[in-house]
Subunit: 262 residues, 3 copies
């Protein structure tokens, strides 16, 4: 450890490496392993049996090499049994479920949520307020813009002719929502605010605001036409009807847009 | 710990919280973490690196709050690396695989099996002799009646317009069997003794005793017409042909029904 | 422990059982649990919080019985949080991701890769240079020949009339490649060098070199006609275009074939 702030708690047993920075009010629960070169910012909670700064393949080949730095932002909640590699940077207020694996050289924005048993391969770019529900898999180089939601078991691929050396990355634009167990094929772009039905296999680009469904997925309509069956009210664009854990929580989305001049 | 029965084994290292009851013949393997307010009944085995009484989100916000009570019934086998939250109640003779996550305020009957890497979200109701094979995901409020079988990777959803605040729960009736990787859409009811084919996406209610298949799933027949290809004998209703780990093990189902006056 | 070779490292805390053989240059990272009767060959790395020689159901019933022997070959990299049962035999240079579970009585060849959150049930036979990407599930008795690739979330089933006592095993032949989230139905054989599209549900045998797609999967062409969209070159048979981690790495496949007289 090189720096430990005020009011830091470290429960035993735990293993803390070299060059570790634990800022004020960090809480490390029992059984955590922190490798070298990990920086945990103020107020973060690290759940039991998590491993932070996990070794990349390069480090396993050369154990004397320097572990790339892992940075975990302020007020994070990393739940138990997660593994996060060195070389990754996670913004403020990240929350994870259990057993999630986040590989090296990923960059996650602030207020990102990563569900139980998710895996994020290396070199992904993930925006702010993105929500990955449980068991999501993101292939390397995936790009998720702000406010994207992926529901349980979504799989984002990247190899058009497996196995190959080609990476054809998927990009999902703002406010898009991808239903449970959907598979996104390599190279596709999912447009702003679109909705992909559960269990779909998406083989082509999806245009802004469209609904696609099936295997292979076909356009079945537009999100603006979807209504909540119980209330009869519109359900999309979802930010107008849903605000839990969103920056417009407690006010409506339109007001928030105005206040933020967007 | 407040109570430890006879012949209790606790392997080191392990962390045992306050107000923990370990009844007679409980065996705690190495590396287990038990939070406060956990009650483990007679003869149960808790595998290495499991976490019992895991903190709910409320507890993480207010670490001085009381952990809701976790009760694990008699003769349970909780295999290594499982996480079970406080506020859940599990009946007698439960068996789990590895790395399963069971959230808070779930109620599981007796003789339930939960496979490796399963996740049960909060507020589910699970009957007796239910079997979840590996990698099953149950969204919150799911209801599974007695003798339901879900095969590997089945995903049970609950949000009809994701993301939203609406929960439209799935209910699966007695003796229904759901094939590997099937996805059940929000709000559907799967009838008694029906069979859902592997890889199906079920978008509508399934009637009693029917077979459904495909994406979207369509009725293809009735379970009573399905035969075992090798023997030529009928395969359903499955309780008449299968009894391993069932209460009629060692006798046939008809006899058991008679003995139980059902 | 009964034998410890030269230059063995064991990080604390860790639990090492009886009759454990650690050959030269073995490295055991912090938090590992090794049960009785485990043999780890030269130069292998065992990642933190892994459990080796995990108890079979028989052992849990009779804790005085002898754990069947687990053998891990030379130069293995078992990453953190994996669980490998007793009674399994793993060849040289195996690599795993995190949280993989490998049950009892499996036989894995050399240079096998097992991704994060995979599960291999018991009595499987896995050839050399097989690659299972993340979250793959193999039902018991599955047979994978040399150089088979299964991509993220592939599910291999085995019960034709679930639940039943019948096992109808899947067999995947050399060089076949199975796309993400595909489901293979019980009893099918996937032919040499064939390609199964992501998200497919394969209900019939697949002939050598064919491409199949969809739910249910249908033949859409032959692998030899698939081209890399960027380069315009052929992409299959993949060994001619891809050599990373393969025995022909650094030379081309044809040369390797000649050198090996195959």
């Amino acid at each position: 450890m090189i720096y430990q702030g005020k009011n830091v708690t470290i429960n035993e047993p735990s293993c803390i490496g070299k060059n570790v920075i634990l800022e004020d009010d960090v809480y490390i629960d029992a059984g955590v392993i922190i490798r070298d070169n990990v920086h945990i910012k103020q107020g973060s909670y690290i759940g039991s049996q998590s491993i932070l700064g996990e070794y990349t393949a390069d480090l396993l080949k050369n154990r004397k090499a320097d572990n790339p730095i892992l940075v975990i932002g302020e007020e994070a909640v990393i739940r138990s049994q997660c593994i996060i590699y060195g070389g990754t940077e996670i913004g403020e207020a990240c929350q994870t479920g259990h057993g999630a694996v986040i590989r090296e050289h990923n960059k996650l924005g602030h207020h990102v949520r990563i569900g139980t048993h998710c895996e994020i391969q290396h070199n992904c770019r993930i925006g702010n307020y993105v929500c990955l529900h449980s068991k999501v898999f993101l292939g390397e180089e995936t790009e998720l813009e702000d406010f994207v939601w992926l529901f349980p078991g979504v799989t984002v691929t990247n190899d058009p002719t497996p196995p190959s050396n080609t990476i054809d990355k998927v990009r999902i634009c703002k406010f898009a929502s991808v239903g449970a167990r959907a598979v996104l094929m390599p190279g596709i772009t999912v447009g702003n605010g679109s909705l992909i039905g559960a269990g779909s296999v998406v083989t082509k680009d999806v245009s802004e605001g469209m609904v696609v469904l099936g295997n292979p997925a076909r356009v079945t309509g537009q999100t603006v036409d979807i209504k909540n069956k119980k209330t009869g009210e519109k359900a999309y664009p979802w930010p107008c009807y849903f605000n839990r854990n969103m920056p417009w929580e407690g006010q409506n989305y339109d007001e928030w847009i105005k206040c933020n001049n967007r």
